[in-house]
Amino acid sequence: MLARIGVQSVDELFADIPKTMLLKEPIDLPRRKGELEVERILSRMSSKNVSASSVPFFVGAGAYKHHVPATVDHLIQRSEFLTSYTPYQPEIAQGTLQYLFEFQTQVAALTGMDVANASMYDGSTGTGEAVLMAHRVTKRRKAVLSGSLHPHYVDVVKTLSEMASDDVVTMGPDVSGTEDILSQIDDSVSCVVVQTPDVFGNVRDLEAIAAKAQQHGALLIAVFTEAVSLGLLQSPGSMGADIVVGEGQSIGNALNFGGPYVGLFAAKSKYIRQMPGRLCGETVDADGNRGFVLTLSTREQHIRRDKATSNICTNSGLCCLAFTIHMTLLGQAGLTRLARVNHANAVKLADLLDDVSGAEVLNKAFFNEFTVKLSKPAAEVVERLAEKGVLAGVPVSRLLPEAGLDNLLLVASTEVNTDDDRAALVAALKEVL
C-alpha cells in the first residue's frame, strides 16, 4: 500500500503535523487488551453498583425504571439499525426513515399535538430548544419557568438563556402545585414552561395557563418526564399547549445512569418551520412508490449554518427506535393498562407510607410519583435505607440543596414494584424514622 501511495513510511503521511508536536513515544496509557480482560475490568466496575432490578427500587425524579420487553433490545441491536448513519441516503435507509415517521406519528398522538420531530437528546435539552423556539415564534426573549419544573431542566434553560442574553423568570419551588404563575404572564413574555406531572408528582391542569398565555401572545410549553403518564392523563395538547417537550426514556429505554435518553418534541403545525431537529416526511420515489426522507432541512445547521433553528445534528435515533418498538408492542390498550398498573402501585404505596409515623404524603393528585414529608432529613434517610438494600427515592435536597426542603423525599413506583418491595420499604423506613 505504501508503494502505491509513493511513501516510505506511514509517518510521511503525517508530515503536516509540526515536527515538535508529533509524538515520538506511545501515550502513557495501558497497551491493548483482549476481550476477556476488558470484560473482567468492566464487569468489576459494574458489580460495584447496585442495579435497580436487584433491590426494592423507588427512584424517579425524571427517569423511571420500567420493564422493557426483550424484543425491543433485540431489535435495536440488529446490524442494519445499529450500524447505520443518519439517513441522508434515503434509498438505502428506508428502515430508519420509516421508523422515524412512525415515531413522529406516535409522539404526536401521545402528546395530542399536530406534529413531532425525530427526537432531541433528552427532555431537558429539548426544553431548552423549546424556549428558543418560542422566542423565534414570538420575537420576545423572556421565559417564565414553573417552580415545579424539574430543577435540572431549569438549570439547562437558564444556562442556555443566560448565555444567549435572554430573560428567564423562575418561580420558587412549588411543592403543592398551587403557584400563581398566571400573574407572571404579560405581553413581554415569550413562553411559560410548566411540567405535569411535575417534579413533586402533582398532576397539573394547564388550561387556564394556556388561555392566559394565548391572551398575551405567549406560548405554553408543556413538559413531562414520565411518558407513561400520558396513557392515563389528558394530553398536553388537549389542554392547549403550543409546544410539548418530554423525556421518552420510560418507553423502551433503560435507566443507563442518565443517558442516552430520548427527547420528545411536538408542536402545533403552524410552527413547523421554527422547530429544531430533524423531521422525516413522506414522499414518493421515481417509480411512484411511497418512501420517506428527511425534510425541511433548510431549518437545519448543515444547510442554514448560523441562521439555523438549532445546532443539533446527531440526535437519539436508536432510542427513538426503542421507543417506537416498545410503543408498538404496547399499543393504546397496553399503554393504558401499563399506566393504570403504575398508578395503582403508586396509590397503594402512598397509602402504606402515609401510615408510617414520621411520614406524610403531600400530594392530592399524582400519577406514579409523589412527595413524602419525613420527620428527618431525606438524604440521611435515603442513605440509611440504601445500606439496608432499599433504594427509597430522591431527596429533594439533592435537586434543590438550598431550598430548605430537606425533609422531602420523592418516591416513584412503577409496574416493577411488588408487594414485597413495598413491604421492604415500609419496614425499613419504620426502622429509620
Binding site: 500500500m1 495501558p30 475490568i41 441516503q89
Partner: protein, 493 residues
C-alpha cells in the same frame, strides 16, 4: 419491498405486552384523566418482530458493507462494547441513586475522563454533552464564560469560522449570541495564519477550527494560528470531529487548543445507530477548566463523589448542559474501545485510517480530480467534480450509482468550499482486500461515466429498496405523520 406502516396493520385493541389489570383501586388523578382516545395501534409480538426486522432489511450499515462517509467515521462497532454497556451495573442504575451505590459507575466516568485528558493533553473534561454539536455548545459556553469573567463580555462577540467548517460550528456560535465571521477558503485547502490575523481584533472571542479539517488535511499552520489567536486574547476552539486521524500521533493540547469536543461515536466507535445517540465530551485547557459545567466526578479519600451544583465547588462552572450526567451508555462503549485498543492500538488505528485513505487517493488519482492537488491526506480524501465535467453526470448521480454497486455513497457536496465535493473516509476497519474491491468499483464507475453511460447514473439507484426519492415534494407539502385515510364514502364525495 414495501412494508406497511404500523398504523396500517395495527389495531388499538391489540397489545404485545401482557399485564394484569390492577385490582380495584381509587385513582387519584385530580380529575385529569384522559377522556379521548390516544389512537395508538398495537401489534402482537410476532407482528412487531416481523415489521421491524423487515424495516431493518431496507437499511445499509457498516455491518453490511463499506461505508465511506467522509467526516462521519463509520468504523466497526464491536459487539463486546454493546455487551458491556448492558451490564446491569451500568444500564440498570438510576442517575439519582445515592452515590454510595454507584461507585463503579463514577469510577468508569472518571477513568474515561482520564483517558480523554491524557490522549489530548488537556486539563479537564466536561463529559455531559450529549453529542458533537452539544459539545461545541459546551466549549463555546466555557469560552463565553471565560470572556465574561475577564469583563470582556460586551466587547468580544465575534467568532471566526472557516468556510470549510461543519454547519454546527456557525450554528453553535450564533445560538449563544456570537457574531460569525467567515475565514475565506484558499486554494490549497488550508487555513492561512495571515488570513486569520487580518480578522483578529479586540472583538474576536474565538476561532472554531476543525483539525484535521474537512478537506482531509491537517492544518499545517495550526501552531501559528493558535499563537495569533492567543496573542489577540481570544480562544482556540477545535472541532474534534476528525480527531480519529491523530489519536496517539499528536495531542491537541500541544497544538494550543483551548476546547475541543470529542465525538465518542466517531473516534471511539460507539455506534451511530441511524443518527444517534452520540456523546460529545469536551476537553478544556487550563484557561477554560474552571468554567466547566456541572456535573463532574471527583475522587476524595478513595470515594467518588458527584458535584452537581455550581455552589458546591470553588471553581466557576458556567451552568449545566443537560439533566443528569450525560451519555453513560456511550461512556461504557468508548472506554471498552479504549481498553481493547490500548495506547498502541489507538495509534495504529489512526495510522491505518490515514494509510487507507491515502491508498484510495493514490488508487483513484488518475481518474478523479483533487481540488487541492495531489498531496497526502489524513483519514479522508476529498475529490471534486471537475473530472465529471461534460459527462452529464453529477456528484449526486455518481453517488447514487454507487448504491447499485452495493456501496453506501461517500459524503457529497461537503465541504462547501469545493464544487461537487466527494469526501471519502474508509476508516481503519477496512482490509486491503475490501479497499481493493471498492477502488475497482469506483474505477469501473468512473470509466462508465467518462464513456457516456449516462443512464447508469442519472436513473440510479436501480437496485435499492427505493428508486430516487422526491425530496422536493416532501418539503413542498410536508407530510410528517400518518393520518387515517378518509372513509371511502367520504373520499368519494
Amino acid at each position: 419491498q414495501i412494508e406497511p406502516l404500523l398504523f396500517e396493520i395495527g389495531h388499538t385493541d391489540v397489545t404485545g405486552v401482557d399485564f394484569d389489570e390492577p385490582e380495584n383501586f381509587k385513582p387519584r388523578l385530580g380529575g385529569l384523566e384522559r377522556k379521548d382516545e390516544i389512537g395508538l395501534p398495537g401489534l402482537s409480538e410476532p407482528e412487531a418482530m416481523r415489521h421491524y426486522v423487515r424495516l431493518s432489511q431496507m437499511n445499509y450499515g457498516i455491518d453490511t458493507g463499506l461505508f465511506p462517509l467522509g467526516s462521519c467515521t463509520m468504523k466497526h462497532n464491536a459487539r463486546l462494547n454493546e455487551r458491556m454497556a448492558r451490564l446491569p451495573g451500568f444500564s440498570d442504575v438510576h442517575p439519582l441513586q445515592p452515590v454510595s451505590t454507584v461507585q463503579g459507575a463514577l469510577e468508569l466516568m472518571n477513568e474515561l475522563g482520564r483517558y480523554l485528558v491524557t490522549l489530548t493533553n488537556m486539563t479537564t473534561v466536561a463529559l455531559s454533552p450529549k453529542a458533537g454539536a452539544h459539545g461545541e455548545l459546551c466549549g463555546m459556553m466555557a469560552i463565553k464564560a471565560a470572556i465574561e469573567a475577564k469583563g470582556e463580555g460586551k466587547t468580544r462577540n465575534v467568532v471566526l469560522v472557516p468556510d470549510s467548517a461543519h454547519g454546527t460550528n456557525p450554528a453553535t456560535a450564533a445560538l449563544i449570541g456570537f457574531v460569525v465571521k467567515p475565514v475565506p477558503a484558499r486554494d490549497d485547502g488550508w487555513v492561512h495564519v495571515e488570513d486569520v490575523k487580518k480578522l483578529l481584533g479586540p472583538d474576536v472571542a474565538a476561532i472554531m477550527l476543525t483539525n484535521p479539517n474537512t478537506c482531509g488535511l491537517f492544518e499545517n499552520q495550526v501552531a501559528e494560528i493558535a499563537k495569533a489567536i492567543h496573542d489577540a486574547g481570544a480562544y482556540f476552539y477545535c472541532d474534534g470531529a476528525n480527531f480519529n486521524a491523530i489519536v496517539g500521533k499528536a495531542k491537541p493540547g500541544d497544538l494550543g487548543v483551548d476546547a475541543m469536543h470529542i465525538n465518542l461515536h466517531k473516534t471511539f466507535s460507539t455506534p451511530h445507530g441511524g443518527g444517534g445517540p452520540g456523546a460529545g465530551p469536551v476537553v478544556l485547557s487550563a484557561r477554560l477548566a474552571p468554567f466547566a459545567p456541572v456535573p463532574f466526578v471527583t475522587l476524595k479519600d478513595g470515594e467518588f463523589t458527584l458535584l452537581e451544583h455550581e455552589d458546591e465547588t470553588a471553581e466557576k462552572p458556567f451552568g449545566r448542559m443537560t439533566a443528569f450526567h450525560g451519555q453513560m451508555g456511550m461512556y461504557v462503549r468508548a472506554l471498552a474501545y479504549m481498553l481493547s485498543h490500548g495506547s498502541d492500538g489507538m495509534k495504529q488505528a489512526s495510522e491505518d485510517a490515514v494509510l487507507n485513505a491515502n491508498y484510495i487517493r493514490a488508487s483513484l488519482a488518475d481518474l478523479f480530480s483533487q481540488p487541492f492537488g495531489d498531496k497526502p491526506c489524513m483519514h479522508e480524501v476529498l475529490f471534486d467534480d471537475t473530472w465529471l465535467k461534460d459527462t452529464g453526470v453529477t456528484t449526486l448521480d455518481f453517488a447514487k450509482a454507487m448504491i447499485d454497486e452495493g456501496y453506501h455513497p461517500m459524503t457529497m457536496y461537503f465541504p462547501l468550499v469545493v464544487h461537487g465535493a466527494m469526501l471519502i473516509e474508509p476508516t481503519e476497519s477496512e482490509s486491503k482486500a475490501s479497499l481493493d474491491l471498492f477502488i475497482a468499483t469506483l474505477r469501473d464507475l468512473a470509466m462508465a461515466a467518462k464513456k457516456g453511460d449516462k443512464d447508469r447514473f442519472t436513473g440510479a439507484p436501480y437496485h435499492a429498496p427505493r428508486r430516487r426519492l422526491d425530496e422536493t415534494r416532501a418539503a413542498r407539502s410536508p407530510v410528517l405523520k400518518w393520518t387515517p385515510p378518509a372513509p371511502i364514502a367520504e373520499a368519494a364525495e
